[in-house]
C-alpha cells in the first residue's frame, strides 16, 4: 500500500502543478470554458485518487472545492478574482495536505476545516447566476464519432474494476457500437474466472467531446491499454448501414489500426458531407494521445546513467591514447568508431536530463500575481522561449535566484503607481518578461522589466557610502551595475518585506556562479532594466582544447576558443603593451605562465589561444596545443572553493589530471592587472 501511496503522491503533485498552471490561464481569460473544464477534471481525479488511497482530508477538501467549479461549469456562478485567490490558496493548502506527517496532522485538520468553511461561505454568496453565451455553445457541441480501443489487463478485476460498468458509462455519452474481441479467450478448461480475456472496440457518437471519453477511463489508465481517436466529425452511427459495415470490419479484423478505420470512413463520410456544412471553428482542444510516448524514470537512475557515460568517456580517452601510442592499424578504426559512438551516447544521455524552462515558469507567474497584488502594482508577466531546455538540476537550482530577481524587478524596478508610468509616457500596466534562448553552447535567461531603470550615479553614491569603493573611483556604467552584485549592497531606501531581506543580489550571483554561469545587468534610466543570466548547457561534460604549460595541462572550453596563433618567445617578450597581431588586428594577451606562477624556462615557440570574451577577444599564451578533448568535469572540491579561475578538473587518458580553465574568470581577474608584462 505504501508503494501505491507514494505513487499517488507523485501523481497528485503533478496534478496540483497542472491545476496551478490551469488557474493561471484562467486568470488571463476568466471565461475560458476549456480551462474551467480541465480544472474541474484535475480536481475530480484528485478527489478520486485521494479517496482511494486514504487521504481523507484531501478527499473532503477537493470535494467541496470541486463544487465551486461544478457550479461555474454549469453556468451557475462566474469566475471572480476572489474565487481565483481562494483556489490559489487552496492549491498551496493541497500541497501541505500531501506532505502531511503524523506530527502536523492535528494542525492540518484544523486548517482544513477552516478552509472548508471559507469555501462553503464563498459558495453560499456566490455571484448571481448568469448564463453566458459560452455555456450554450457547449451543449450545442457537434456530435462527432470516436473510436475507442479498450484492452484491459488480465488482472483488471483484481482492483475491483468491472470493465462492463465502464462500457455502460460510455454508452451513456451517446450513440454507441461495441464490438467485443474474444479471440484471446482460452478454451473452457483453461479459463481463470478471475481474469479478463476480452477486449473491446468501440465506436461512439457523442457531443460530449473526447475528454469526456477519456474521463470514463481515468482510473483504469494503468490497468488497461486505451486508445482514443476521433475518427469523424459526423454522427456516423446514425445509419444502420454504416453500423453494419463497421461491425463487420471489426469482427474480421479486431486489431485493425485506427488509421485504417479512418481510411474506411472517409468513404462513408461522403454521405454526410452533403448534409452538413463544414464547421469553420477549428478544434482547439489538444488531441489526447493515449499511446505511450513518454515514460517516467527516477532521477537517480538518470544520474547513474550519466555517471556511467562519464566513466565511458574517460576510458575511451585512455583507449584512444593507447591506440595512438601503439600504432596498431587494426585497432585505430575501431577506436575511432567507439569515439564517435561514445560522443553520440554522451549527447543523447545528456539531452534526457534536459527539461524545458517552462517547467519553472508557473512559480514565477504565481509570484508576480501575488506580489503585484500585495504591492498594488499592475504587472503583466510575459514569457518568451520557454521551450529552451536546461539540465534538470540546473533548473531546480535556478528557481530561487530568478525568484529573487523578479521580486527585485517588481519591487524596485516597476514604478510605484500607474500615474508614474503614464507620466513617463508608458503603458499604465508594467511588464516583466522572462526571455530565454540558446546561443552557442550557452543558454541565456533574461528578466526584463520596463520600469524606472537604474541610476549609475545613485549606485555609485551608495557604494561609496557602504565603503565598497573609493570616493574618487572612476566607474563605467557596467562596473556600476556590477556593484549591485557585491555583498552588502541594497539600493532600496527602505527595507520592504518583499525584497531586501538581507539576502541580496550577491547571493544570486553566487548561486549562478555555482552553476558555472554568469549574471549581468544592463539598464536604461526611465526605460527599464534587464538581468541576463548566462548558463552552460550541461554541467558535467564539455568539449575542450587541451593545452600544456610546462608540466601542467589545462582544458580551455572549445566554445570560447576562436583561433590559435604561433609566436616565438622573443616576439611575445618584446610585444608592446601585451598586444599581439591576430589577423591584422591588435589583441591583448595574458601571459598565463606568469600569472599562474608556473616555474621553468619558456619554450622557444609559444602559442596564443585567442578566446572570445564579452564581444571582444583576448589571447592566452600556452606552451603547446595537445588537441581537442572531451572533458568530464570533476569538481575540485571544498579545499579549492576560493579558486574560481579553474572551474574543475578532468582525468586524462594517461591518468593524470588536467585543470579546466574558466576563460572568463581568468580574463576578468588578470585583464586589468598591472603585472601582466612578460
Amino acid at each position: 500500500m505504501e508503494v501505491f501511496k507514494q505513487k499517488f503522491i507523485e501523481e497528485a503533485t503533478e496534478q496540483i502543478n497542472d491545476l496551478e498552471q490551469a488557474l493561471l490561464q484562467l486568470d488571463q481569460n476568466k471565461e475560458d470554458l476549456e480551462t474551467i473544464e480541465s480544472i474541474f477534471r484535475v480536481m475530480h481525479s484528485l478527489k478520486g485518487g485521494s479517496a482511494m488511497f486514504g487521504f481523507e482530508k484531501i478527499d473532503r477538501f477537493t470535494h467541496i472545492l470541486e463544487n465551486i467549479y461544478e457550479s461555474i461549469r454549469s453556468g451557475e456562478a462566474k469566475v471572480t478574482s476572489d474565487i481565483l485567490d481562494l483556489t490559489f490558496q487552496a492549491v498551496d493548502h493541497l500541497r501541505k495536505l500531501l506532505d502531511e506527517t503524523p506530527e502536523s496532522e492535528k494542525l492540518l485538520e484544523k486548517e482544513n476545516n477552516k478552509f472548508i468553511e471559507r469555501i462553503q461561505k464563498a459558495l453560499d454568496d456566490k455571484a448571481v447566476p448568469e448564463h453566458t453565451s459560452l455555456q450554450d455553445e457547449k451543449t450545442e457541441g457537434k456530435v462527432k464519432t470516436y473510436f475507442v480501443r479498450f484492452v484491459p489487463d488480465e488482472d483488471i478485476m483484481h482492483n475491483g474494476t468491472n470493465p462492463l460498468y465502464l462500457l455502460e458509462d460510455l454508452a451513456n455519452l451517446g450513440n454507441i457500437l461495441i464490438v467485443p474481441n474474444v479471440d484471446n479467450i482460452p478454451s473452457f478448461e483453461k479459463i481463470n474466472p478471475e481474469k479478463t480475456y476480452t477486449s473491446w472496440n468501440i465506436f461512439l457518437s457523442t457531443n460530449a467531446g473526447i475528454n469526456a471519453i477519456v474521463d470514463v477511463f481515468i482510473f483504469v489508465d494503468d490497468e488497461a491499454r486505451i486508445e482514443t481517436h476521433k475518427i469523424s466529425d459526423y454522427n456516423l452511427l446514425e445509419l444502420e448501414a454504416v453500423r453494419n459495415i463497421l461491425k463487420e470490419t471489426l469482427h474480421k479484423k479486431p486489431e485493425i489500426k485506427p488509421a485504417d478505420i479512418q481510411e474506411l470512413i472517409i468513404d462513408l463520410e461522403s454521405v454526410y458531407h452533403d448534409k452538413e456544412v463544414e464547421d469553420i471553428q477549428p478544434d482547439t482542444r489538444k488531441k489526447v494521445e493515449h499511446s505511450i510516448s513518454s515514460i517516467r524514470v527516477g532521477a537517480d537512475k538518470l544520474d547513474n546513467l550519466i555517471n556511467w557515460v562519464s566513466e565511458l568517456v574517460t576510458i575511451q580517452a585512455q583507449l584512444s591514447l593507447y591506440s595512438r601510442e601503439n600504432n596498431n592499424p587494426g585497432l585505430a578504426p575501431i577506436v575511432e568508431e567507439i569515439e564517435k559512438i561514445s560522443r553520440r551516447l554522451r549527447d543523447d544521455v545528456f539531452s534526457i536530463r534536459l527539461i524545458p524552462i517552462a517547467n519553472m515558469v508557473t512559480r514565477f507567474q504565481r509570484l508576480v500575481r501575488e506580489l503585484s497584488n500585495e504591492l498594488g502594482k499592475e504587472v503583466l508577466f510575459e514569457t518568451k522561449g520557454t521551450e529552451t531546455e536546461l539540465d534538470k538540476n540546473m533548473i531546480e537550482m535556478l528557481i530561487d535566484p530568478i525568484m529573487h530577481i523578479i521580486r527585485n524587478s517588481l519591487d524596485h524596478g516597476i514604478e510605484i503607481n500607474a500615474a508614474g508610468r503614464t507620466a513617463a509616457g508608458k503603458k499604465p500596466k508594467g511588464t516583466i518578461t522572462l526571455n530565454s534562448y540558446y546561443s552557442g553552447t550557452n543558454v541565456y535567461i533574461q528578466i526584463i522589466d520596463d520600469g524606472r531603470g537604474l541610476d549609475p550615479q545613485a549606485i555609485k553614491q551608495k557604494a561609496v557610502e557602504k565603503g565598497l569603493i573609493e570616493e574618487d573611483a572612476e566607474l563605467t556604467e557596467k562596473e556600476a551595475y556590477d556593484l549591485i552584485f557585491s555583498s552588502g549592497f541594497s539600493t532600496a531606501k527602505e527595507v520592504t518585506n518583499v525584497s531586501g531581506r538581507g539576502v541580496g543580489m550577491d547571493v544570486v550571483k553566487r548561486k549562478i556562479a555555482e552553476l558555472r554561469g554568469e549574471v549581468e545587468m544592463t539598464s536604461e534610466k526611465g526605460k527599464g532594466t534587464t538581468v541576463t543570466i548566462k548558463l552552460p548547457l550541461t554541467l558535467s561534460i564539455i568539449d575542450g582544447l587541451l593545452v600544456r604549460i610546462e608540466k601542467t595541462k589545462f582544458v580551455i572550453p572549445l566554445s570560447a576558443v576562436h583561433k590559435i596563433y604561433e609566436f616565438t618567445h622573443t616576439e611575445i617578450e618584446e610585444a608592446i603593451n601585451n598586444l599581439f597581431l591576430a589577423d591584422e588586428k591588435r589583441v591583448p594577451f595574458i601571459y598565463l605562465r606568469k600569472v599562474f606562477n608556473i616555474e621553468g624556462a619558456p619554450p622557444e615557440i609559444e602559442r596564443i589561444v585567442n578566446v572570445e570574451y564579452q564581444d571582444t577577444f583576448m589571447g592566452l599564451t600556452v606552451d603547446e596545443i595537445i588537441g581537442e578533448y572531451q572533458a568530464v568535469l570533476k569538481p575540485l572540491g571544498q579545499m579549492y572553493k576560493g579558486i574560481d579561475i579553474i572551474s574543475g578538473a578532468t582525468i586524462l587518458g594517461d591518468g593524470t589530471v588536467a585543470l579546466v580553465l574558466d576563460p572568463n574568470r581568468v580574463i576578468f581577474e588578470f585583464a586589468n592587472n598591472e603585472n601582466l608584462k612578460v
Binding site: T552, M639, Y640, I646, V657, A658
Partner: protein, 182 residues
C-alpha cells in the same frame, strides 16, 4: 581549549591504532580510522593561485583528490620528493562534511598500537605546534611521536599549525609563507 585533565579523560583506555609518518626529523601519528590507503608519490597537478600548502590534485580511481603538503602545513620547507615520499589518503570530517584528501609526507614509518595510559598529554608550552592540534605524545626510545587531532588540523583555515608565539625565526618563516600565498 580543554584543560590538561580533560584531555587525559578524552583518551580512552582502550587500545587505539595509529599510523606514524615523518616530516623532516619529526614524527607524527594519525589514527588509522582516518586512513584510506597509502599511495606512492605520483605526478601532482598544481592548481594556480592555491595556497602553498595545497600541493595540487591527483587522480584517485577516477576522482580528483586534493593533496596537501604537510611540511608546509607544519611550517617547514616544501617537500622535496624522495623515494620515501608518500601520499596518505585520509577520510576526514570537516565542518560536518566528509572530505577525502591526500597528505604528502616525507616517509610513512609504522603502525602503532597504543593504550590510553601510554599516551602523555602534550605539554602546553615548549612545543612549537598549537596545542589544540596535538592529542597527545608517545615516547618511543628517545623520540617523541606527536599524535595528531587530524580532523582539526584541516578544519581551521589557518595556513600553518605552528604556534605563532614561538621563536622569532619560525614567525618569520610563517610570514614568508603567507607572503608567497597572496
Amino acid at each position: 581549549m580543554t584543560t590538561k585533565h580533560q584531555k587525559l579523560e578524552n583518551i580512552s583506555n582502550t587500545m587505539e591504532t595509529y599510523l606514524s609518518f615523518r616530516l623532516g626529523r619529526e614524527v607524527f601519528a594519525a589514527s588509522v580510522h582516518h586512513v584510506v590507503n597509502i599511495l606512492e608519490l605520483k605526478p601532482i597537478t598544481k592548481v594556480p593561485h592555491a595556497p602553498e600548502y595545497m600541493s595540487g590534485v591527483i587522480n584517485l580511481r577516477g576522482q580528483v583528490l586534493p593533496v596537501i603538503d604537510m611540511r608546509v602545513k607544519f611550517g617547514m620547507t616544501p617537500t622535496e620528493p624522495t623515494v620515501d615520499t608518500c601520499i596518505i589518503v585520509l577520510n576526514l570530517e570537516i565542518e560536518e562534511e566528509e572530505v577525502i584528501l591526500g597528505i604528502l609526507v616525507d616517509a610513512v614509518s609504522e603502525v602503532l598500537e597504543l593504550e590510553g595510559e601510554q599516551i602523555e598529554p602534550s605539554p602546553s608550552i615548549g612545543t612549537k605546534y598549537k596545542a589544540e592540534f596535538i592529542k597527545g605524545m608517545w615516547k618511543k626510545d628517545e623520540t617523541f611521536i606527536m599524535l595528531l587531532n587530524i580532523n582539526l588540523v584541516f578544519t581551521r583555515n589557518e595556513l600553518v599549525v605552528v604556534e605563532e608565539k614561538s621563536s622569532q625565526a619560525e614567525v618569520d618563516e610563517v610570514k614568508e609563507n603567507e607572503k608567497t600565498d597572496e
